[in-house]
């Protein structure tokens, strides 16, 4: 945006050119190690799976080229896959949204300057994420058990019937959503917390002097200042939510429950690949999933932009 004509034109252009040249060299150089490692260890396997999706391949045997057949089956004749797509979205909604909301609240509270014992509370927030899955499975099994579960015990104390959480659709969805929220809330809070730090405190100071309320400060300073970070959390949590599978698997097994109550896309992919050994079909699932996630992320991205610019 610098003026094209002026007294310093020649000098500026020279500087700019050399700076642009330097930026190109440094730019490529700085991303090179990343792309080399990434290319060998991540990109190659991904491309490999793209090729496999056109084959019928039991992982231990011979491959047979079948063109788009896997995709045709997926799109036209696989109710389980579409059930998994539906579940992934409902689980995303009922776990990711409360999780991000509470994470933001937690981060805001943790960000207060007067708070004592910050390191303790912050470490505690991460404990669910470091608790081993074995323990998580046992504990959530004890909470949601039909016969001896703590929740059902509470229900029976209140005079309600015992409820089979795992067998019911919404019961299982609720349990998994709670598990996800529990495990990832602190993780997201720590990310938000770092993001809150990027806002210089004097801006708030100035706003306070102007008489802005805390809510006004939040919407007029915090949200706009954090725009790139909010975009980051939206995309990462979308991608993460779309790829959810550990929690449903430890709660309901690798079938996601006897009627697939919490069968998610990646869980379906995982059992197709590693239980049924059908790698061709699993690769097709992966790529169809990819398209769904990209579409959904783009949708989310525009939604976020709209919400941001509406303010």
């Amino acid at each position: 945006m610098q003026p094209r004509i002026g007294t310093h034109t020649k000098k500026t252009r020279k500087l700019r050119n050399s700076q642009s040249f330097k930026d190109h060299v440094s730019g490529y150089l700085y991303i090179a190690p990343f792309f080399i490692l990434f290319g060998i260890f991540t990109l190659f396997p991904i491309l490999w799976s793209a090729q496999i999706s056109f084959y019928s391949w039991n992982i231990l045997g011979s491959k047979e080229f079948i063109g788009f057949q896997n995709f045709i089956w997926l799109l036209t004749d696989d109710p389980r896959f579409w059930k998994a797509v539906g579940n992934t979205f409902t689980l995303w909604i009922i776990s990711t949204i409360p999780q991000l909301f509470f994470a933001l609240v937690l981060a805001t509270v943790l960000n207060q300057s007067m708070l004592k014992g910050k390191a303790l509370f912050r470490t505690a927030a991460l404990i669910p994420n470091v608790t081993s899955l074995v323990a998580v499975a046992v504990i959530f099994g004890s909470i949601f058990g039909t016969h001896y579960g703590i929740l059902n015990w509470l229900l029976s104390q209140l005079g309600f019937d015992k409820f089979n959480w795992l067998a019911s659709y919404w019961g299982a969805q609720f349990a998994v959503a709670l598990m996800v929220t529990w495990r990832w809330l602190g993780y997201n809070a720590i990310i938000y917390l770092a993001a809150l730090q990027s806002i210089p405190s004097d801006i708030y100071e100035a706003a306070r002097i102007d008489g802005a309320s805390r809510v006004q400060q939040f919407f007029n300073i915090t949200i706009p200042m954090m725009r790139p970070i909010i975009l980051f959390t939206v995309i990462v949590s979308t991608v993460g939510g779309m790829q959810l599978f550990v929690e449903p698997m430890i709660f309901a097994g690798d079938q996601g429950g006897s009627k697939g109550q919490v069968l998610t896309m990646v869980l379906y992919l995982y059992t197709t690949a590693f239980t049924n050994n059908q790698f061709g079909y699993a690769s097709a699932i992966a790529w169809l999933m990819f398209l769904i996630i990209v579409a959904f992320s783009v949708f989310n991205f525009y939604l976020t932009r709209k919400i941001n610019s509406a303010d």
Binding site: D23, T42, I139, W153, I190, S198, M225, F232, V266
Partner: protein, 276 residues
Amino acid sequence: MNKPIGKIISYSFLTLMLVFSIFPFYWMFVIASRTTADTNKFPPAFTPGSQFMSNIDKMFNEYNIQFFRALGNTALLATTLTLSALFFCSLAAFAFSRLSFKGRSFLFIFLLMTMMIPGQLGIVPLYIIMTKFGWINDLRAVLLPGLVSVFGVFWLKQYMDSAVHRELIESARMDGCTNFQTYYKIVVPIVKPAMATLAILTFMNVWNDFLWPSIVLKDPSVQTIQIAIRNLNKVYYKDNAVIMTGTFLATIPLLVMVSIFMRQFVAGITQGALKG
């Protein structure tokens, strides 16, 4: 929020979160200090028992796992991978955020897209690569694929977008800084909180990862702690008390590390805040 009411609300909220977060972890210790049958009790046992030492003894003497060796391997991997993620990711993020070069947005969007492909299927081709390199039963098989992460680049890039202002870069250039000097002297100090966060998250992920390590690290001499702990599961009998004991012991060093990082994180933030 200087009013006492605000303080009380904040602390009660935090305490609630603390209990909510810590309870399963605490319960892991409860089981580790009891017998397996106590997992099946109703109502569940809520207080620690007296079997912790005997479970530790069982774990070390009856089960053939090399706990400390595995801990060392894991610490080595987690530290190296954390340092490399910090370096490579921040460097790439700097380039994506504050250097202009051709194909920048294309390459960046391309990176984001790859994040959206489920990675589970990559195991077989990755294994083929590792056998070609001769790295089965070699820590390098876990090290090399983990040196960089899209998550890290994306995170630091977004952080730089919001925290590192263009004017700062311009003035650094006026002062004659090379691009690397700008990165090192100007950008890195500003994004410290983000880097500390990335360090914590990377360290935790590496520490807890088991799927890929379990496939390439078979020999006891190279196993990571998660695999060693999983090996406490016997095919016909799973002694939950011993498994929880092992899990508990394996989590302690990680927690210590995380809280050290946290202290750094908090300190870094205070510094940053002073600079304003």
